[in-house]
């Protein structure tokens, strides 16, 4: 055989080999490179055909869908189920991979799609009981239940898309993973909801409190992580007309408290850590509404910007659903949810922020065997554990791992270093959320809308609504447990039923305000109700109040609010925290004369207008000073704090400490021969920050310190592929502003919306991303620039399909068998 034939043979074998068999994690080369069926073919589906006819099983009547110039589908159906079938189809058309990734994340079955690398995420989901709860909730739906029919209708739409897929319509990610889309099951929507519950309502206060007490004692732990917000500007107006500063002296660090179950189960310890070292005030959602008496045109106004992890494609998908005489709702849905989650109708508008309530408790259980328990003891009697074996499989179906999960009547039982703990969590018990949005969208006014949402359970939300009649209202809505005793941030004994929840707050008891005299309402994840007005325990993990302070100040100062002002407030660069801290830092520097670096840092800080504009060159120094201050101040909490096991106490606590120059907390115990006081520590923090920022970004007078050079938003692709992500996006805003950004910048305003409820409802909105999940589409990331600049698009709400403007695609859906 000639050398040429040998070369050809080897080449042939190599090329066909890597085309027929997957070379490790990489996809097969032949199918990938094929310009008709492979990765290149996604270019052919980047711009969907101008018109199409699609048949969906189960469809009762034809549905027409017209896409406007922003690629938003306007769905015109004759009944709600058909509208959901069409919604399922168009969501799958634009976001099919996202749909599958999200349900798999909630179901703990990512490994079957992306391989063993996802095993920790899957074990977390299943270990927390998310898929178990989702399946139970779906199974509990009676066959004719409305929620079940909604889920099935949506599922029929998604599957109509999947079964009709041509090779060119398979999303790019499937080519990279060498997989094909899995069919959609109705229960998948519950998996999605369960994962959202984890994102929004997983807050393990027991861990924080126990770890702090183990270092500095019970009294100090309670003061460092106070149950009540030290600065009161509650969601439910308290009539004060101004924030109230409740800053009690901080007790000195005490002797460590030996607290039972100080160490959480490893699974929970991992779950509570944020992925990118986010600072405490770096994330958070906002919403506010203005009554006609304080708006320029005499119409109620509403604004909302839920902050979540930013991804490409976005977590949100914009859509308009119209069913004559029944439903006419515009807004954003989460791919996989059966309706519009945040949006507006021709009568009202609504939006949410996370309530941050304590909806999770841990119980130290007594079990019959330390390694493989089968029973647990309650009130002196043994009860059987429900034992489930969870198997994790790879993409070929091979077993990767099997876990034995156990459940008490409270929830999943997890192993901790010092025993077994069970978890009770409202997310695992929620129900009814799938259909509730559709029902609420039929409400005629704000009060009726709140009544419709009364059955909403989890994740608990601050639900803000405004209507065309001029009413504005807000209610912190969800399943808020009634506990024995007064607090939910302690691990409770599991061997007595006296520890169990005794009920839940009724809708009437939930923090709420309807048509307040002040003429506006605002929430920013702060404590919902002033404890002086209602001292009952709702939670203890309130976000720092800076955003609440800022938006309330803006709204108080403006008695003629316009929709454009609402838009500007969403990216307002002002910082209530900086307004309080900078003067204190400067005063401390003035009391420390003689240190050039301290004086220079103070002079540079003094130049700052305390606004996080893109071109400001001083915010980076301020943020570094605060970080340095925290590092020096909280040495008593090390090493737990440095390891990310214990969050830093909030800056509101620091604000209280600033009033006490000789508090023991100012002493840095690492300097054994010196007892530091407030001004010494602040001066050191100023000098260190100046040194660090100068080293990193150069001359203070240069452009290196510009905010848009040092802090960016980063929108990661769902698979964290850098090439499909959008890094380095300049933004206005920083830690504790209304549009906060910190850490890697991967959290931020996921949807911004402003609605004016006049005779004709007008609305504006955008999100960082685009409607299409196809990276070859111009609609993949076309809104990012606008979002980055704080601009909004006008949202179009045509009454008929013929009124849909633009030359976007049109789809007519027909029932099977109809022509």
């Amino acid at each position: 055989m000639s050398a040429g034939r040998w070369v050809a043979g080897l080449t042939f074998l190599a090329l066909t080999g890597v085309s027929l068999v997957r070379p490790g994690p990489a996809p097969r080369l032949g199918p990938l490179a094929d310009p008709v069926h492979g990765i290149w073919s996604v270019a052919a589906s980047a711009d969907p055909p101008a018109s199409a006819r699609v048949r969906i099983p189960g469809l009762v009547a034809p549905v027409q869908v017209a896409f406007d110039d922003r690629a938003v589908p306007h769905i015109f159906a004759r009944n709600e189920l058909d509208a959901l079938r069409a919604l399922g189809y168009v969501v799958a058309r634009d976001r099919l991979f996202q749909l599958e990734l999200q349900w798999r994340a909630g179901a703990g079955r990512l490994t079957e799609l992306v391989g063993a690398a996802a095993l920790p995420v899957d074990r977390e989901s299943r270990g927390l009981g998310l898929p178990d709860a989702a399946r139970a909730r779906y199974a509990a739906l009676p066959p004719q239940a409305r929620d079940r029919r909604l889920l099935e209708a949506f599922s029929e739409g998604v599957n109509a898309r999947i079964t009709g897929l041509t090779a060119r319509e398979i999303p790019l990610e499937y080519h990279l993973l060498d997989r094909r889309p899995a069919p959609w099951e109705p229960v998948d929507s519950y998996y999605l909801l369960a994962r959202m519950g984890w994102t929004l309502a997983y807050s393990d206060l027991e861990d924080t409190r126990a770890r702090a007490a183990a270092l500095v004692g019970d009294a100090a732990a309670d003061a460092l992580y106070p149950r009540e917000s030290p600065i009161q500007e509650p969601i439910q107006p308290n009539g004060a007309g101004a924030p109230r500063f409740d800053l009690p002296p901080l007790p000195p660090p005490g002797l460590p408290s030996v607290t039972r179950a100080a160490t959480p189960p490893p699974l929970l310890a991992a779950a509570r850590r944020r992925p990118d070292g986010l600072e405490a005030d770096a994330i958070g959602s906002n919403n506010w509404a203005v009554a006609p008496i304080r708006s320029a045109d005499g119409n109620a106004l509403l604004a909302g910007d839920p902050h979540l992890e930013l991804t490409l494609p976005s977590i949100w998908y914009e859509a308009h659903l119209v069913v004559p005489d029944s439903l006419d709702v515009y807004g954003v849905t989460i791919p996989g949810a059966t309706g519009i989650v945040i949006g507006f109708t021709r009568a009202l508008a609504w939006t949410f922020t996370n309530a941050e309530a304590d909806v999770l408790d841990r119980y130290a259980e007594v079990v019959d065997a330390p390694d493989a328990p089968t029973r647990y003891r309650v009130d002196g009697a043994w009860r059987p554990l429900r034992v489930v074996t969870e198997e994790y499989r790879d993409r070929r179906g091979a077993l990767l791992r099997a876990d034995t999960l156990r459940y008490t009547h409270r929830g999943p039982l997890l192993r901790a270093a010092d025993g077994w703990q069970s978890l009770r969590w409202t997310v695992l018990e929620a129900g009814g959320e799938q259909g509730i949005f559709g029902r609420a969208a039929r409400a005629a006014d704000a009060r009726a809308w709140l009544d419709s949402m009364a059955g909403y359970r989890a994740p608990a939300q601050n639900m803000l609504v405004a209507d065309r009649g001029g009413s504005i209202a807000i209610r912190s809505t969800g399943h808020f447990p009634l506990r024995p005793g007064d607090r939910g941030d302690l691990v409770l004994p599991g061997d007595t039923s006296a520890s169990d929840w005794t009920g839940e707050w009724s809708a009437g008891e939930m923090p709420q305000a309807i048509a307040p005299a002040q003429g506006y309402l605002a929430s920013a994840n702060q404590q919902p109700v002033d404890p002086r007005a209602d001292p009952r325990y709702l939670g203890a993990n309130w976000y720092s109040p800076w955003r609440a302070l800022r938006i309330n100040a803006l709204l108080r100062a403006d008695s003629a609010v316009t929709p454009d002002a609402m838009r500007r407030y969403q990216t307002d660069p002002g910082s209530a925290a900086a307004d309080l801290f900078v003067p204190a830092l400067l005063a401390a520097a003035a009391r420390n004369p003689g240190r050039d670096s301290v004086a220079l840092a103070a002079r540079l800080l003094e130049e700052w207008d305390r606004r996080y504009t893109r071109d400001n060159t001083r915010a980076i120094l301020y943020e570094t000073v605060l970080r340095e201050l925290g590092d020096r101040l909280w040495d008593e909490l090390e090493p737990s704090r440095a390891r990310g096991e214990l969050p830093s106490p909030g800056y509101a606590v620091v604000l209280g400490l600033l009033r006490d120059s000789t508090s023991a907390w100012w002493d840095d115990r690492r300097t054994a021969t010196v007892v530091e006081q407030r001004d010494h520590i602040i001066a050191d923090a100023l000098a260190a920050a100046l040194h660090e920022v100068s080293d990193r970004y150069g001359n203070p007078e240069g452009d290196g310190w510009r905010w848009d050079r040092v802090r960016h938003a980063r929108i990661n692709h769902l698979l964290y592929l850098p090439a499909l992500s959008a890094p380095g996006i300049p933004v206005q805003g920083g830690q504790s502003t209304l549009s906060p950004t910190s850490g890697s910048g991967s959290f931020g305003a996921s949807w911004r919306m402003v609605v004016e409820l006049g005779p004709q409802v007008r609305a504006w909105g955008t999100y960082p991303g685009g409607q299409s999940g196809n990276p070859a589409s111009a609609r993949y990331d076309d809104r990012i620039r606008q979002w980055s600049e704080g601009q909004l698009d006008t949202l179009l709400v045509p009454a008929t399909v013929d009124q849909v403007p633009g030359s976007g695609a049109r789809i007519r859906f027909d029932a099977m068998g109809n022509d």
Binding site: S2, G4, R5, V7, A8, G9, T11, F12, L15, T16, S19, L29, G30, P31, A33, D34, P35, V36, H37, G38, I39, W40, S41, V42, A43, A44, A46, D47, L721, P722, A723, L724, P775, A776, S777, A778, Y780
Partner: protein, 109 residues
């Protein structure tokens, strides 16, 4: 020369149709059959590359441009290099299949 050009065109057409209706595996099959019947392996390779090149031209330009940018970044290569590599892959598939089964001594033409 004209005969070779005609054969090249035919190979390209067959390769494009085979890929369109079948898949990537059409290229080695067409190349193999062509080589077995005494065709020149080089022409088989060129025909395969031409076939995929033509299929590329049928894709919409703007989305392909965006895809090139993103996939190029993913592979740490300039975008156009990815297309060149894809065409090289097609050409090598066609050539290697034809050369592997070609008679050891080609009849003179």
């Amino acid at each position: 020369m004209a005969r070779a050009a005609l054969q090249l065109l035919l190979l390209a057409l067959l390769g494009a149709a085979g890929t369109w209706f079948g898949g990537w595996w059409a290229l080695p099959i067409i190349g193999g059959v062509y080589g077995w019947r005494g065709g020149r392996p080089l022409l088989a390779g060129l025909g395969a590359a031409l076939a995929w090149g033509a299929l590329f031209l049928m894709l919409p330009a703007a989305p392909v441009g965006r895809l090139l940018t993103r996939l190029g970044a993913l592979a740490h290569l300039p975008g156009p290099a990815l297309i060149a590599l894809t065409l090289l892959f097609a050409g090598l598939l066609g050539w290697s299949a034809a050369r592997l089964v070609a008679p050891e001594t080609r009849p003179s033409r």
